[in-house]
């Protein structure tokens, strides 16, 4: 498999947007170079022919861990809400969602 093309400044700006990070012009320059360096190092992995090898997402294979469906105590609502930056009527309060009337 051939490694993808080198990461560009525009790629980094796009990724920052996806990750909800706002970067300065200097940070964009710095991170573009640093991410390219790490991805260049990863070319040893990206260029291997591993057709037919199954990916391993978890080293210890455990599937379908279930518990009995019974009512149990959970975290205290007021204690949890007490950690929130803003609360109204026992709910997390956020600023307006884009596009809605205030």
């Amino acid at each position: 498999m051939s490694p993808p093309e080198r990461i560009t400044r525009d790629d980094v700006a796009h990724v920052a947007h996806l990750a909800r990070l706002e970067l300065s012009e200097e940070e964009l320059d710095l991170f573009t170079g640093q991410l390219a360096q790490v991805l260049d190092h990863a070319a040893d992995v990206a260029s291997l022919d591993l057709a037919g090898v199954e990916p391993t997402a978890h080293a210890m294979a455990i599937t379908n861990v279930l518990r009995p469906d019974e009512v149990r105590p959970c975290l205290d609502r007021d204690e949890v809400l007490g950690q929130a930056p803003s609360v109204e009527d026992h709910r997390f309060r956020v600023p307006r969602i884009l596009g809605e009337a205030p």
Partner: protein
């Protein structure tokens, strides 16, 4: 020869009433107060909580009851382990002011064993780093040379044990974050088999790799702490529901009949003095009756690249939760997306941003197969190669880190150079296997060196008994610059 067990002696003194837990805890709090300004091992010292719990332990003893195996023993917690009502910051501004509404399972188990939590230790921000320099609270310094790093990311826990502030501490190890700082600080550090210690209440970095484990001054103390924290926990869906190896009872069994493989790939980039210590440890194991041979597992060379695709991928997903809505920092803005963005941009430091972006990139459309899935296929090949090696060998031996502790600031401008500090420890995380770092004398620069023992899944019993033999053969350790160990 029996392995030294300082925490057992301490706990037994408290359990018998020969010493009070309060006196023990006060002594350690005094050591922290005297010297931690030179080390900055702690983000938070919980003096009031610790003294209150020590008094409870003493009351239990006075009532004729047994507080447990760690009665009155002071323990430090890496600051990514949740403590109910007590700030848990991950050394990040984004968790400013957060007091978790629950205890991590390991914290509950410590309390049940009579241990006394004395504080939360400094770390690389969200455990992303190898030197504790990415912490928003400033770096921790190495107690052997305060101009040098303690390693990381659990550098505060390693330094706290090294300086004698606590006999025991917990850290977390995603790519070497327990073993590498243990090596650089001259203490024992162990990463358990994935799933043997509950991750409930460990703030997630890379969930398929993260594992909590012990720091101690001796192999036996690390074994004791592992026995206390290990075992199935229904609150963690990745917790193994099968018997966890008990290690304390097999510690003095020796290595006769075992085969130890010196893993040559781990010696590739190691400094000559580090490599020499590994060979010296191998000779000591041979002298104690083990069969020692060289083993090559070329696939581990791919570990570093695979790790720096997988771990950031998982991190980018895990850290999406820090959005300014439910806890921690919020930067106000006119709408929710702007608030999310302002909060994350202000709350995360540069290394965390770098890894979130790297992870977002390798998981994004067009790159996922070439990078992320390819790294997961490499993970398969590494596991299969280890399996083949463990058909010949009971354990593998190598260095824990390629060098001794480096100067503060030496690698902060070069992320790839920093990442290379983890090259010897990462393969065990990718495979889910246990590994332990044991101090093995000074290097040419007079700083601590650790040798690492690696084993297959659930081989903790074997690892600890081999580690005890290595420990018994270890050269005299270097002298501390700060603190003192009893």
């Amino acid at each position: 020869m029996s392995a030294p067990r300082p925490s057992t002696f301490l706990a037994n003194a408290v359990r018998s009433g020969a010493r009070s837990a309060l006196e023990v805890v006060d002594e350690h709090l005094a050591a922290i107060a005297a010297d931690d300004d030179q080390v900055h091992a702690f983000n938070l010292v919980m003096a009031d909580e610790a003294r209150a719990r020590a008094i409870e332990v003493d009351r239990t003893v006075a009532n004729g009851d047994d507080p447990g195996l760690l009665a009155g023993v002071p323990v430090a917690l890496k600051d990514n382990l949740c403590t109910r009502g007590v700030p848990t910051t991950c050394s990040s501004r984004i968790l400013d002011g957060w007091r978790p509404p629950y205890d991590a399972t390991v914290v509950t188990r410590l309390h049940r064993s009579g241990a006394v939590v004395v504080g939360k230790t400094n770390m690389d921000e969200f455990a992303m780093g190898s030197s504790t320099e990415t912490s928003a609270t400033g770096p921790t310094r190495n107690p052997y040379d305060t101009g040098r790093v303690p390693g990381g990311s659990s550098g505060g826990s390693a330094a706290a044990v090294a300086a004698g502030f606590v006999p025991l501490a917990l850290g977390s190890d995603t790519g070497g974050s327990i073993r590498q700082p243990a090596a650089l600080c001259g203490v024992v550090g162990m990463k358990p088999t994935y799933g043997t210690v509950s991750r409930y209440g460990l703030v997630a970095f890379a969930s398929s790799l993260d594992q909590i484990g012990p720091f101690a001054t001796t192999v036996a103390d690390a074994a004791l702490l592992f026995d206390v924290i290990g075992g199935h926990d229904p609150a963690d869906s990745t917790s193994l529901n099968r018997p966890t190896p008990r290690v304390l009872s097999v510690l003095d069994d020796g290595v006769a009949g075992l085969t130890v493989g010196v893993l040559v790939e781990l010696l590739d980039g190691a400094d000559p003095d580090v490599a020499a210590r590994v060979h010296q440890a191998a000779e000591a194991l041979a002298a104690a009756g083990a069969r020692v041979e060289e083993v090559s597992v070329p696939e581990v060379r791919l570990g570093l690249s695979a790790y720096y695709l997988i771990a950031p991928g998982e991190a980018s997903s895990n850290l999406a939760r820090y959005d300014g809505v439910r806890y921690g920092l919020r930067m106000d803005a006119e709408d929710t997306v702007a608030m999310n963005t302002a909060t994350r941009s202000s709350g995360f430091g540069p290394e965390v941003k770098r890894r979130i972006m790297l992870g977002t990139y390798v998981l994004s459309a067009g790159y996922m197969d070439a990078y992320y899935l390819q790294a997961l296929r490499v993970r398969t090949t590494i596991i299969e190669a280890f399996d083949a090696a463990y058909r010949r060998c009971d354990v593998l031996l190598g260095p824990t880190a390629p060098t001794t502790a480096f100067p503060l600031g030496a690698k902060t401008g070069d992320p790839l150079a920093m990442y290379l500090s983890d090259v010897c420890t990462i393969p065990s995380n990718l495979a889910g296997h246990p590994a332990i770092s044991v101090p093995f004398g000074p290097g040419d620069d007079g700083l601590p060196i650790g040798v690492q023992l690696l084993g297959p899944a659930l081989s903790e019993g074997t690892l600890f008994k081999v580690a005890a033999v290595v420990e018994a053969a270890a050269p005299t350790p270097p002298a501390l610059a700060v603190g003192a160990r009893s």
